[in-house]
């Protein structure tokens, strides 16, 4: 499993630019989410049953088995459409403050891209990103996290990547990321033996050896979420 955290500068182009390379990687991440989800759903079913048993709580809602079957059907459909051998172990991770930052940035910068951008469009983008996440870290107060950079607005994404124990933090905001060839910027969590490598998207591609994004149809993102019963 390879957890990855995306900065706003990568995730918003991935959602809003339907033919770009960042979108193609988002398709790979959606594939990874579907691969992970079936197992996670079974684990959660066990946890929910345990919680119910220990508290005399009442179980309800959507059946885990049905959700797991749907995830598997979507996974199988996507696997057929993706290049042979496309990896399914990339995992998009976010945090509540990072999801809020994606949204804040879209709300502020979106009208420069599209003056007709509506509030409901912001909700749609947030849903697309959330649905592609495999994991969301525990919440944290952005004011109380360590200082990683000179710009506090940029710290939550780094903190999220460290909490997530991410393999990579990918960011095209080059204020805090090396743009040199082979450039990797390392951030460490103070007081803990944890670090994350931050790279630009183009540098990240050098490390994405097991899939050729040219062969990934960026239009497949919708397939990842299409009902298994629809054609």
């Amino acid at each position: 499993m390879r957890p990855v955290v995306l900065d706003t500068s990568v995730v918003l182009p991935a959602v809003l630019s339907p033919r770009g390379y960042r979108r193609r990687f988002l398709v790979v991440l959606a594939f990874g989410a579907l691969a992970a989800r079936r197992e996670l759903l079974h684990q959660e079913a066990d946890a929910l049953h345990a919680k119910s048993a220990s508290t005399s709580g009442q179980l309800g809602g959507g059946a885990f088995d049905a959700l797991a079957e749907q995830a598997h059907a979507r996974y199988a459909r996507l696997r057929e459409a993706l290049p042979t051998g496309c990896p399914d172990d990339w995992r998009l991770v976010a945090s509540p403050p990072l999801l809020a930052e994606y949204e804040r940035k879209l709300r502020e910068a979106g009208p420069r891209l599209d003056p007709t951008l509506r509030e409901e469009d912001v909700d749609v983008v947030r849903r697309q990103i959330a649905a592609t996440c495999v994991e969301v870290t525990d919440d944290f107060d952005p004011e109380l996290i360590p200082v990683y950079t000179a710009d506090r607005k940029d710290d939550p994404v780094i903190h999220t990547a460290l909490l997530a124990d991410a393999t990579w933090l990918i960011a095209d905001d080059t204020k805090h990321i090396s743009t040199q060839p082979e450039g990797i910027t390392e951030y460490r969590l103070p007081g803990a033996d944890r670090r994350v490598s931050a790279v630009t998207f183009s540098r990240f591609l050098d490390h994405l050896a097991d899939v050729d994004l040219d062969q990934v149809d960026p239009g497949l993102l919708g397939v990842a979420y299409r009902s298994p019963s629809s054609s």
Binding site: L16, S17, Y21, E44, L48, T55, G61, R91, P96, G222
Partner: protein
């Protein structure tokens, strides 16, 4: 410091609402209409599993239709276009 996940995460309705930026009432509606998995605790509070909640998004919304509509609107938008708009925010 905890890593990503050592055990399945069960969210309160408030946490679930904040995660998806919907109202707590929306989460309760999904619970009442059995759209998302949950456990109702004896005190009346609910716990919602994270992966179940995220997996259920494909049922509570038409995500594929939403992405298709966005893609049609932004068919000619490039990564550079989006990044240029974002850079104006710095």
């Amino acid at each position: 410091m905890p890593a990503v996940r050592s055990q399945p995460k069960l969210l309160s309705t408030k946490q679930a609402a904040e995660l998806l930026n919907v109202s707590k009432r929306t989460i309760l509606n999904w619970i009442e209409s059995e759209k998302i998995p949950y456990v109702k605790l004896p005190g009346g509070d609910y716990r919602v599993p994270l992966a179940g909640l995220l997996a259920s998004l494909s049922g509570t919304y038409r995500l594929d239709e939403e992405i298709r509509a966005l893609d049609e609107r932004y068919a000619t938008v490039s990564d550079a276009d989006v990044q240029a708009a974002l850079e104006g925010d710095d």
